[in-house]
Symmetry: none
Subunit: 226 residues, 2 copies
DNA sequence: AAATAACAGCAAAAGTGATGCCAAAAAATT
DNA sequence: AATTTTTTGGCATCACTTTTGCTGTTATTT
């Protein structure tokens, strides 16, 4: 998982906090989602499945503790890390927060450096877990692990040869692959297949992904463009 | 792992701190080991393999930061949780501490209730990872200890191979496991079994858990999806 | 400009190979 | 010994792959 795939949900009723914390985390490369109250926070947590949730304790309507409990009840979110934002001296809320299932708390006033260090430390474990072998080209996402691709948000499962062909072409967008090269890479240099084989696979890919992505260079080969 | 099997190493040069923190944690049922300086702390950490290490930052001879770095270098201790004890306002040491590989910090003066809550919270993650050897994926719950699974609330006992196969596939939902990989992981690379063996086990699992969870990627392998 | 040749697109058909399924044998557990 | 689990081989099937023959297009030659 790359850094910019890590989502952090920030829940606070003060726009200033949202602004400054959000800015600092975005700057570090994280994808930041914000919510302005507990209810909205819970909703977005369920929808976005963030790895880290930063919850202000003191909020109108639904406070952080309650939101935390609701979030923890959701099984999909049980691996998320939840940390509270709390003013110095609110020791009571620390205890209650931990009981509600929080992993940590951050005290206000917030110091950007401390915050970022803390977030990194909290996420360290999470990061180490899964590094997906996935490549992104524009709106196309190729996932070698799962033998599937995501095009325009839609998941498509491709047969082996088609997948490998796409995988090859998309590995260097813009580069023209000669027919020989393709044959070598996808079919292996021992196997000999007829001349029209590649075309047919290209056609299948065009059907599934849209014509415009695959350009034919006559007499040479094919290339993939965004 | 029972609570009284959990070891906490406490490193501080002030006997008072050792006394009060140690007392509170012992009271909670944890096994507490103490050290009075950094060097001793590192030594005991290596020897005792505690799950949680609480390090005072300010100590004569070897300070907490240095000790932390040394501990983190030890591969056996890389899963230990390290938290610093620091006086309020020492923001510098917080940052340096995280850089040195700490997971958290606790500010002095220490409030027993906060301390205990925090320790519990820190250990919770640890417990979930290593102790409760059970994994949840959607409505499926896999209990490696007892070789059984819970699917849609119903408890199912699976034979070894079936269990291991499911366990493997479900360990990374979505990921396609190639036949070779499966053979390696479940059967071991020395043993050679016929080609139809995997199919049959997949079939059994499909019978027991429902068709839709196991997808076949022809020419590649299988994957588990929710 | 017309004729020719080379090339790629296309659809359908044929080929192939991997997987599903079964029933039965072998092995392991009880 | 009885039962359960695991493996196996045969067969059918289906998905994927490759071929085929045709068409249209582009490039080359005359």
């Amino acid at each position: 998982m790359k850094k910019n795939d890590i989502k952090i949900l920030l829940v606070d009723d003060e726009p200033d906090i949202l602004e400054i914390v959000g800015y600092n985390l975005s700057n570090e490369g994280y994808k930041v989602i914000t919510a302005e109250n507990g209810a909205e926070g819970v909703k977005k947590a369920k929808k976005e499945q963030p790895q880290l949730i930063i919850l202000d304790v003191m909020m109108p309507e639904m406070d952080g503790i309650e939101a935390c409990e609701l979030i923890r009840k959701n099984p999909d979110l049980k691996n998320s890390i939840i940390t509270f934002l709390t003013a110095r001296g609110e020791d009571y809320s620390q205890v209650a927060g931990f009981d509600a299932g929080a992993d940590d708390y951050i005290t206000k006033p917030i110091k950007p450096k401390v915050l970022v260090s803390k977030v990194k430390a909290l996420l360290r474990r999470f990061k180490e877990e899964d590094i997906a072998d996935t490549v992104k080209i524009g709106s196309l996402e190729i996932n070698r692990d799962e033998y599937k691709i995501i095009s325009k948000g839609e998941e498509i499962i491709l047969p082996r040869k088609e997948f490998e062909l796409l995988s090859l072409l998309a590995s260097k967008p813009g580069k023209v692959f000669k027919r020989d090269e393709i044959l070598d890479a996808v079919w292996g240099n021992e196997v000999v297949v007829g001349g029209r084989t590649i075309d047919v696979h290209i056609r299948k890919l065009r059907e599934k992904l849209g014509d415009n992505s695959f350009k034919t260079i006559k007499g040479v080969g094919y290339k993939f463009v965004e």
